[in-house]
Symmetry: C2
Subunit: 284 residues, 2 copies
Amino acid sequence: MGLTAASAFDQATAVRRAADGSYDVRPDERFATGGSPSGGIPPAVNGGVLIATMLRAVLDSSVHPYPVATSANFLRVPRIAPARVEVSWLKQGKTAAVARASLIQDDVLLIDSTITTGFLPNGSAPDSAATPDAHALSWTAEPPELPPLDECIQLRPGTGISAQVDLRLDPATAGWLKKKAGGAPEMRGYFRLRDDRDPDAYLLAFALDGLPPVVFGLGAIGWAPTVELTWHMRAVPAAGLLRVAARCRHVSGGWFDEEAEVWDSAGQLVAQSRQLARVGRVGR
Amino acid sequence: MGLTAASAFDQATAVRRAADGSYDVRPDERFATGGSPSGGIPPAVNGGVLIATMLRAVLDSSVHPYPVATSANFLRVPRIAPARVEVSWLKQGKTAAVARASLIQDDVLLIDSTITTGFLPNGSAPDSAATPDAHALSWTAEPPELPPLDECIQLRPGTGISAQVDLRLDPATAGWLKKKAGGAPEMRGYFRLRDDRDPDAYLLAFALDGLPPVVFGLGAIGWAPTVELTWHMRAVPAAGLLRVAARCRHVSGGWFDEEAEVWDSAGQLVAQSRQLARVGRVGR
């Protein structure tokens, strides 16, 4: 890290090149949720933070600057111990390149991901392959509605993620904090790191998975393991607070979906995700 | 196929086991869009149909009955010629198993996909690993609003996909047919095969990608190649017509997202998808 004090998030997602396409990493307990001591479940590092780590390894050898599409399958929960990320390129195109990245611990595959890198309209490099026509078309849906920051509920800094993230929840989605779940599987809030590091692609990956699970709104409080998460980066974020809004469309058979959007301080839709996850134990 | 006359869709997505984990397939021009003869672009088989083909190969050796999560990266466009699907299993779990499936032609990787198989609440096999708590939780969002079938606009059967699919578009999303695009990137309609084959996991994969691209609603008529598509199967569909509703959140820099839901005749949300695609040439 040299003489610069990196943020805890940058430390937790750091990669060190060990060989061509192979990077040493270490899941960081500062970004883990507590698991269930009574159930013998160890702390699990946030899925978005693990994706950010894998993105760093991919971007290290990418010809394009941004991870426009990332899909990740969470096969097994990493331990808080050394691991590695293996990167192999499946396609090198003018507009998009595609890599496979694997998070491996003790020679066992834990997370399998496929990552498309490319250009973004407000990014640092132009897409030389795009037609002018395609560039001319621009359209954005309405942003989510959030109350002003000072009307939101600040989560107390505890252990794990809550010590790292300054999260202010929309009161309409925070009833579960007082055991009065609102009855709708949704979650909205303002998101930033406590050390106020500016957003980038890596922090977006975390923000998309950094709110409490939407099923908390149905009273299903507990660890909700992600099975599959796909996210798309749509613009380079401006400095400042992020707004995150997550909704759900269907819960049944122990499965639920969570769709999150991240909007930046300049009013841009910068990232969107959907994950399929498992409902944890209910009512704990 | 024996003595049973399979539907064109079943023929087009058929797989023949050639070796352990290797299946012979053939992209079928009956499910291709025309491409651009003037631009020298050959017909491209619908991405959902290609995914359905890969799902057949994966399900052939899956311990679980349904593809609950599928993410696919479209690297290169398959030709109308023999190809193969290679399947390898990354995880075999009690609740979920995960496979990688690759569509390959002339030893070149064209589509890379990761597929999670598991159980569904109304499916043919129970999830023995699920807790009763998790099964108890059930919630569904509001379905999309569609006009009655007889008020929708039936697309004329032409060549390619339109000869196979009986698609009835919501007039509110069909203005582009008369060169009066509605100005919103959305598409809704009723979907069934012309030979009226009942829906299953394979047909859902097609239905999710079977409507005209949402950017047609912005007047961007043209081939819109999918870069990445992820979909989740949420319930086993009832027999009958499918309702498909697709929306978009953001278009810029030549990229757009398309989120589709499929609801069945029994009013169940049976599938949901999001894809990242490229805007085709505009105004053609």
